[in-house]
């Protein structure tokens, strides 16, 4: 099996006049933890959202597990058919800044609904697994609670369990702690740290620089929709080459 989980080649994305991604080429292999840093509006979230087709690209190629999601032939962007896109993006799973748990379902059902209804797995087995996932994120006692009854940190941990439940090849974390109070980011970061230590493949967009440096096997710095610098966290954080990265690090570490 190929080790390439996600490949982007020369991807462009515009919102009207604004360039969100410009000629982005990036590859994530199995077992990597790739952290994407950069200031707001640099295109980090857009990058993740193009991988699972929450946004459509304007140019370039994206492949997931070696299967092409979109490619550009003779200047024309060609996406796969809707059903095929759906199957491909289910090989990824996203954890959102605002959790996006389903408010009408219990924690357990939030986790179990996709494996049962979409992947048509055995409901009893899925619920058993969902309980294990809740235990993994330290919330086994909240199985019957509704999202409205949880704190932000608890919601995000349930959301991580829900993402894991579809057994994705890669986890996409889109600023998972940005909507949380500072004192409770720790409980979410701990879960992500544990997953990284277990070797889960992930891409993580975050403003938590210390955490980014700690969990990343590779760090990517973006600015104005472009990848400016990329490499082992030691060199990206410790010995930045570009002036823009130096400025960025100086600004975020000061605050």
């Amino acid at each position: 099996m190929s080790g390439r989980i996600v490949e982007l080649e020369n991807v462009d994305k515009r919102y009207g006049e604004v360039t969100a991604l410009a000629d982005v080429t990036l590859r994530v292999d199995r077992g990597e933890q790739v952290v994407i840093i950069g200031s707001s509006g640099s295109g980090k979230s857009t990058l993740l959202r193009c991988i699972n087709h929450l946004e459509a690209v304007d140019r370039g190629k994206i492949a997931i597990n070696g299967a092409t999601l979109v490619e550009t032939v003779d200047g024309r962007v060609k996406y796969r058919r809707e059903g095929e896109i759906r199957k491909l993006i289910m090989q990824t799973a996203m954890v959102f800044q605002h959790f996006n748990l389903f408010g009408h379902l219990t924690c357990l059902d939030n986790i179990a609904i996709a494996p049962i209804e979409i992947k048509r797995e055995n409901p009893a087995e899925v619920r058993e697994r969902a309980r294990e996932l809740l235990k993994l994120v330290g919330l086994e006692q909240k199985a019957g609670a509704y999202p409205g009854q949880l704190s932000g940190g608890q919601k995000q941990r349930v959301a991580i369990a829900r993402a894991l439940a579809i057994r994705p090849s890669i986890l996409l974390f889109d600023e998972p702690t940005s909507a949380l109070d500072p004192e409770i980011t720790g409980e979410v970061l701990k879960v992500i740290r544990d997953l990284a230590a277990q070797g889960y493949t992930m891409m993580l967009v975050t403003h938590e620089m210390g955490f980014a440096r700690e969990v990343a096997t590779r760090a990517v710095f973006m600015d104005n929709g472009r990848i400016i610098e990329e490499g082992p966290p030691g060199s990206v954080f410790g010995a930045p080459e570009s002036g823009r990265l130096r400025l960025f690090l100086k600004a975020v570490i000061k605050t």
Binding site: I89, G103, A114, K119
Partner: protein
């Protein structure tokens, strides 16, 4: 005013027949318009304009003209068309004319209520469902609508109570609903007793409905309670 028990008992059988007519119009209209409204709501938020456009025009037309005009049109207007064109199936009896008109009219109002409820659900819910592999249809029926229901119940309750009273419009085309019966009795006996009895019955119906909708709202709010 004659409130003697004897007179009230004399009026009751015919009022009950009128009530039966009123409740039939009410129930049939609800049963038809509640689901029909969903069809028009989904149509009017469709990304595909050949669905969206007719649905929006429909809602505009039925909300933008008087219910009584619609009733006249369906009963008398279509009758005239039927006679001129020979398409006799267009000539409707009074009762079906009322039910069809009311159902079409209320479907337009329900469609707008549903549409607003559906569109009030956060975009993140669609995104989460999509990343988990949900199709658009399944997202709508399993994720969005179940959460929209709670927000939809209060305005639907309002419309339903309006419908109880709107059924009285049926007597403009001489359907013997409860108000018609009361009016006839009042004219015959020159007393307002029949009107008072009819009013009490309308009040009883709307009271029951209010309680039912309150219970429904509580039931669908279970997941919105704060931390236990």
């Amino acid at each position: 005013m004659n409130l003697s028990l004897d007179y009230v008992l004399l009026l009751l059988p015919s009022l009950m027949r009128g009530l039966k007519e009123t409740l039939s119009i009410f129930c049939l209209t609800l049963v038809l318009s509640l689901p029909l409204g969903l069809v028009f709501a989904l149509g009017s938020i469709s990304k595909f304009w050949p669905f969206r456009f007719p649905c929006r025009v429909y809602v505009w037309l039925f909300r933008g003209t008087p219910l009584m005009l619609q009733l006249f049109f369906v009963y008398y207007g279509l009758g005239i068309v039927a006679n001129r064109s020979g398409l006799l199936f267009l000539r409707l009896d009074r009762f079906p004319a009322v039910v069809i008109t009311f159902a079409l009219n209320y479907a337009a109002y329900f469609a707008e209520i549903y549409r607003a409820g559906i569109q009030s659900i956060d975009r993140g819910q669609y995104e989460a469902a999509k990343t988990l592999g949900f199709t658009r249809t399944r997202t709508m029926f399993r994720i969005i609508i179940p959460q929209a229901i709670r927000r939809i119940i209060p305005p639907v309750s309002n419309e339903t109570i309006t419908l109880v009273k709107d059924t009285a419009l049926a007597n403009v085309i001489a359907v013997s609903d409860m108000l018609k019966v009361a009016k006839d009795a009042s004219n015959r006996d020159t007393t307002v007793t029949a009107y008072i009895l009819a009013a009490l019955i309308y009040l009883a119906i709307t009271f029951v409905l209010t309680v039912v909708y309150q219970k429904l709202e509580q039931r669908f709010s279970r997941h919105e309670q704060e931390a236990v």
